[in-house]
């Protein structure tokens, strides 16, 4: 009997701990969002973060999208050829890229690049007293460090995904036309015939949600890091893993919200 109670108690402690962490994360997000509507605004920090996320993430996001589009066209061709359905390749590529692969892969790439950098930078600031120093210099760390990153990532991700969508579709086009022998105009017609506004919009909404999640987890893990270099390393790992899992989970939630009957 006592063994059963021990198991229940352990489970209870774990659930309570998880709920407490979720509560603290929600309070953290709420305070950061409140900073976005309370002046003064950290415009300089926002501009720096926006450039860092939107501009400097372009190469990695573009390359990922290009090869994904290319592989998608090739795989679809080998699969669909069995059913004489090669003509569906253009539709498969454009819908997969705009609805799913563009936002998800861009989100995962940005989680690795930006989420990790945010956690490492803010975590180092925490363990070297720089965040306390901000407070003593009459500067709210939430306003100065967290809010600009959340806003910049939320706004920059849709722009990155627009680029990823275009390059991903272009990757599929290149393979279809130059390797598989499709007629260029016919491929493009098939692409634009099937594409609807909602396909692109749903991808951009996902991108904004993923950007927010990446920045939230990066700043939260960094802000709460403890114990020197090891603590910063742990915060960085947690930020990337947690934001990657959340991206995949929220991808389902947003997809269900847009496309469920």
């Amino acid at each position: 009997m006592s063994a059963v109670l021990d198991v229940v108690a352990t489970l209870g402690r774990a659930v309570l701990g998880a709920l407490a962490r979720i509560g603290r994360l929600a309070l953290f997000a709420g305070e950061a969002l409140s900073c976005l509507v309370r002046p003064p605004f950290a415009l300089r920090q926002f501009r720096q973060q926006f450039i860092e996320i939107a501009y400097f993430s372009l190469p990695v996001v573009a390359l990922t999208a290009l090869f994904t589009g290319m592989v998608l066209a090739l795989q679809s061709y080998t699969g669909f050829a069995r059913f004489n359905a090669e003509s569906a390749i253009a539709s498969v590529v454009v819908l997969s890229v705009t609805r799913e692969l563009g936002p998800v892969l861009a989100g995962l790439m940005v989680a690795g690049r930006i989420g990790a950098a945010m956690a490492a930078e803010i975590g180092t600031m925490r363990v070297t007293d720089q965040i306390d120093a901000l407070t003593t210099l009459s500067t709210d760390p939430m306003k100065h460090l967290v809010a600009p990153r959340l806003l910049a990532a939320t706004l920059a991700m849709p722009l990155l995904v627009i680029v990823a969508d275009i390059i991903g579709v272009m990757g599929g086009f290149l393979v279809a036309v130059f390797k598989l022998g499709f007629v260029a105009q016919a491929y493009l017609d098939a692409t634009f015939d099937v594409l609807e506004l909602m396909d692109v919009v749903s991808g951009l909404v996902k991108a904004a949600v993923f950007g927010f999640v990446v920045a939230l987890m990066g700043t939260w893990c960094g802000y709460n890091s403890r114990g020197g270099a090891q603590g910063v390393g742990q915060a960085t790992t947690t930020a990337v893993v947690a934001s990657s899992i959340l991206i995949l989970a929220l991808d389902y939630v947003v997809t269900a919200a847009f496309f469920s009957e």
Partner: protein
């Protein structure tokens, strides 16, 4: 020097625990206006926690913190910001922001509050750097390019740049050679006198304590166990303080060593 009847800072019954560890267990302390108070104590005795409570970086569990006679223990965001405008802090490791150059570090508070333009800030930073014996050209360097002593000087320049009337110094000479330590102490004394500020320092370094302090207090077991003149350190008649000041192994203070 004219003593004000109301202490600049008064702590009454300050308590703070981290989990099961009671770090502050009823700290009572008064800091006279325009005087320099040095708080001594062993590692983990609660010196840093005490000044972090005064600065509002840590919320105490109980007790009262008064600044100029007003209770500042539970201030709202706006009043806390107003209080912080009057305070400066030199952190043990400098805590300079490594993503911006030295001149921006020095004028960070003034720029954040838009009290000066970025063009004016460069000149203001050069003046503040001159006060701590650094050339204006240092302003263009990154903090990572500076030696430990120079980082301490820049951190001191940042602490005084907004002309605070209360300045806190956390182990200002830790990690410096004795000559550089003496130089930093001299700069601290000069800056505090020039500003007419009240200073609160925490240190292990007895030579430093005597150089920068008018008054001294010793914290042990979460309480203030002695206060007196900094000049008297080492011959106070209090066995605990004299053991600490003279670095003696035997005495009432027992180090907890695991066997």
């Amino acid at each position: 020097m004219q003593d004000s009847p109301t202490p600049k800072i008064r702590l009454r019954g300050l308590r703070k625990a981290f989990g099961p560890k009671q770090v502050l267990d009823g700290v009572d302390l008064e800091v006279r206006a325009r005087h320099s108070m040095v708080i001594l104590g062993g590692s983990g005795s609660g010196k840093s926690v005490t000044i972090k409570c005064i600065l509002g970086l840590i919320r105490p569990d109980a007790g009262v913190i008064e600044v100029d006679g007003a209770d500042v223990t539970r201030l709202n965001r706006r009043d806390r910001a107003a209080l912080m405008d009057r305070m400066g802090m030199l952190f043990q490791n400098g805590a300079l922001f490594d993503s911006i150059p030295v001149w921006e570090n020095v004028c960070f508070k003034l720029l954040a509050q838009r009290r000066i333009s970025r063009a004016q800030a460069r000149d203001h930073a050069a003046e503040a750097l001159a006060q701590v014996g650094l050339a204006a050209s240092v302003g263009d360097l990154s903090p990572a390019e500076l030696s430990g002593g120079m980082q301490k000087r820049v951190a001191l320049a940042r602490a005084i740049a907004a002309r605070p009337d209360i300045i806190f110094f956390d182990e200002p000479t830790t990690g410096l050679d004795p000559i550089m330590g003496a130089v930093i102490d001299g700069l601290i004394v000069d800056c505090v006198e020039r500003l007419g500020a009240t200073a609160v320092s925490i240190t292990h370094d007895m030579a430093s304590a005597r150089r920068i302090g008018d008054d001294a207090a010793m914290i042990h077991g979460g309480r203030i166990v002695w206060t007196g003149s900094a000049e008297a350190l080492g011959r106070t008649g209090n066995a605990m303080v004299d053991q600490f000041a003279n670095g003696e192994r035997e005495g009432p203070i027992r180090m907890e060593l695991r066997k």
